[in-house]
């Protein structure tokens, strides 16, 4: 075979490039990955959550239930779900707090530890929060080892055996739904109680809520309550500007909510 010098160099370069790129690099050419860029909404099974803030009284039972169910040490100040309190005074000042994630509930009229006279308050509301299980989760995007991933039914999970603990996902979550689990020392977050909902049960937080604030269901299933609310009522998501397409829908949000 007659090889010109140019051809040899070309083929050599090609062979070198071919061997140095690990096979896993080809992952970016996966058809599913490409398809998800074109069709962000699929018709398949997809879990979603509805929070009716107008019904929330800030008792904190959901936070307590979540901590116990998911074995997040109770006294540690990290939580998979939490409740925020927003108090707008008549002078326009907004006071926000969530002491210990509200796991002991809001029992006094003392936002940020300052007693506020009821006559001064213009409006107040409680906003329960949890992982938004985004359609385009920025946490999954930045995980360097693929330890955090989205399941086929739209729930974002963390593989504790894989997590290296770099904290990139925590930094990249617009909602700060993530934290380091104090026992496993890996990234942790709400799973929509995946171990329960896949068995037909409710999430621990919605079971613990006495006021019907929290609802879990399938977004494409016309018989689910979540489907009915999202399709018939005025709902809003948190921080849509980040483009994550969050899947926790809120009734009764206000512009003071962060």
């Amino acid at each position: 075979m007659n090889l010109s010098r140019r051809k040899l160099l070309k083929m050599g370069l090609l062979a070198v490039c071919g061997t140095v790129i690990p096979l896993s690099a080809l992952e970016i050419f996966k058809p599913e990955a490409a398809a998800s860029l074109i069709h962000p909404y699929s018709e398949k099974k997809r879990w979603a959550f509805v929070v009716d803030t107008t019904k929330c009284v800030g008792c904190g039972m959901c936070v307590k239930a979540c901590k116990l169910e998911n074995e997040v040490p109770f006294d540690t100040d990290v939580q998979r779900t939490w409740v925020e309190r927003y108090v707008q005074l008549k002078n326009g000042e907004v006071i926000i707090d969530s002491p210990h994630g509200a796991r002991y509930g809001f029992t006094k009229n003392d936002p940020q530890g300052h007693d506020v006279d009821e006559a001064e308050v213009a409006k107040g509301l409680f906003v329960p929060k949890l992982c938004n299980h985004c359609e385009k989760p920025s946490c999954v995007q930045v995980c360097p080892v693929g330890a955090t991933y989205k399941t086929d039914d739209g729930v974002v999970l963390v593989d504790r055996k894989w997590c290296i603990g770099c904290g990139y996902c925590i930094t990249n979550c617009p909602y700060f739904a993530r934290f380091f689990h104090p026992i496993t020392n890996t990234a942790d977050k709400c799973t929509f109680c995946y171990h329960r909902i896949t068995k037909g049960l409710n999430t621990a937080c919605s079971d613990a809520c006495a006021f019907g604030v929290r609802k879990i269901g399938l977004i494409n299933d016309p018989s689910s309550e979540v489907f009915k609310i999202i399709n018939t009522e005025r709902v809003m998501v948190l921080k849509p500007e980040y483009g994550n397409e969050p899947h926790v829908f809120y009734i009764g949000l206000d512009d003071i909510v962060r």
């Binding site: 006294d75 540690t76 707090d97 925590i170 993530r178 026992i183």
Partner: protein, 412 residues
């Protein structure tokens, strides 16, 4: 509360106003030091390439030194990352199952390819010396030198000529590789869309420019110190040339960082309220005084004054080194100091007393060790390879000075 139950981050974060309940400063001192070290790597390498690729004769005495210095720093670059991980043993997954949508996943590839270029260049540069030593030395040292020759003993005129060609190619390839290594670190920050201080497409370039100024300044300081300690003659032409490089990149860094700040202020997006409080109040001393005035404006002024002295070069370079470290601090810690709720602040307080493993790991001791290690490595390398020796004597220096003045005359 028991130490084991303390949330990761609670030990060194003080929260004010409204911050999300899970919000702590997760990226701490290690992530400040990591871009600082890789920045020094990139800058030192670019400096050595100035001689090898662009044939800046007056940089000859520092070309070898800066190459080896770059290597010593490069060896230490991954250690702050390992210290930072909460599951360092899992880090092997970074190589086994990299997820390439993540900027961090490219680390192994970028790092190892750059390491390969630097190692190869060092080998070619010192090859004649290694062979000479391998033939002369006996015992353990002879064995080491023999191993380092990799079985090649050819020092003929032709072989040396080929070596020089290869060095030129490696040095040229190394420049984009160094730019990639550090530009990519900037990308890691610039692509974090939740931190308004980081989120700018300029970030990779800002990091690159500050990397080069810190690297060149690092070389100036270490070189002057190293030579002074050995009581060797320091060539003024080399120092002046390095300072010239420093000035150009200093201007670029000031422009880029300035543009970034002006845009944040002028567009005044939602985050500007809290960001301006950070810039002008909480981080005013660190950012405006140390990073900008002492770290960039003052050294630029000092370097531009006519009749540059060795002392002035040394002072400016030291100031630049401090300024760039402060810049890394302001970016990493400052960025996270603003609550993602834009309604509160987090203050970072480094745990000084090592009363637990976590406090020790996050404290000043491992980081101090990390920062000293490159110099210890440099000292060891200097024992094996002629890093500081074989330098210009006064005649060589005078000759280069003559060349430079001739060039200047030709210009006029």
């Amino acid at each position: 509360m028991e130490a084991a139950e303390l949330a990761h981050g609670a030990l060194w974060t003080i929260r004010e106003g409204f911050t999300y309940p899970n919000e702590y400063i997760y990226w701490t001192i290690h992530i400040v030091v990591y871009p600082y070290i890789t920045g020094l790597v990139a800058g030192a390498f670019v400096l050595s390439s100035m001689y090898h690729v662009f044939g800046k004769e007056e940089l000859k005495p520092v070309a070898r030194f800066s190459l080896v210095f770059s290597f010593a720093l490069l060896l230490m670059a991954p250690s702050p990352l390992m210290l930072h991980l909460t599951q360092p043993l899992n880090s092997v997954e970074l190589m086994l199952t990299p997820h390439f949508y993540s900027a961090i996943a490219a680390f192994t590839i970028v790092y190892l390819s750059y390491m390969a270029v630097v190692l190869a260049e060092i080998w070619f540069v010192f090859r004649p010396f290694i062979i000479e030593q391998a033939k002369e030395k006996k015992g353990l040292l002879g064995l080491i030198y023999n191993a380092m020759t990799l079985g090649s003993f050819d020092v003929s005129e032709k072989a040396r000529h080929t070596d020089e060609k290869i060095i030129k190619i490696l040095a040229a390839v190394g420049i984009p590789a160094a730019a990639l290594l550090h530009g990519y670190v900037g990308f890691i920050f610039g692509s974090v869309k939740t931190v308004p201080l980081w989120k700018t497409p300029l970030m990779p370039f800002i990091f690159l420019m500050s990397a080069i100024i810190s690297g060149v300044a690092g070389c100036i300081v270490t070189y002057i110190l190293g030579m002074a300690l050995k009581r060797n003659f320091i060539c003024g032409a080399s120092i002046r040339s390095m300072c010239k490089v420093l000035v150009w990149f200093l201007v670029a860094a000031i422009v880029l960082e300035g543009v970034d700040l002006i845009f944040h202020g002028y567009t005044a997006e939602e985050s500007w309220g809290i960001m301006s409080e950070l810039l002008f109040q909480r981080f005013a001393f660190k950012m405006i005084v140390v990073q900008w005035l002492l770290g960039m404006i003052l050294p630029l002024f000092l370097l531009l004054l006519p009749r540059l002295t060795m002392f002035r070069a040394f002072t400016s370079a030291t100031l630049v080194l401090i300024g760039v470290f402060m810049m890394r601090w302001d970016v990493v810690i400052g960025g996270q100091s603003m609550s993602r709720s834009f309604a509160g602040f987090l203050t970072y307080k480094m745990p000084i007393i090592p009363n637990s493993i976590e406090a020790f790991r996050e404290g000043p001791f491992p980081i101090g060790f990390l920062m000293i290690m490159p110099f210890i490595l440099l000292f060891i390398f200097n024992r094996v390879l002629p890093v500081f020796t074989e330098v210009f004597n006064e005649d060589d220096c005078g000759f280069t000075e003559g060349l430079l003045t001739k060039k200047d005359h030709a210009k006029h």
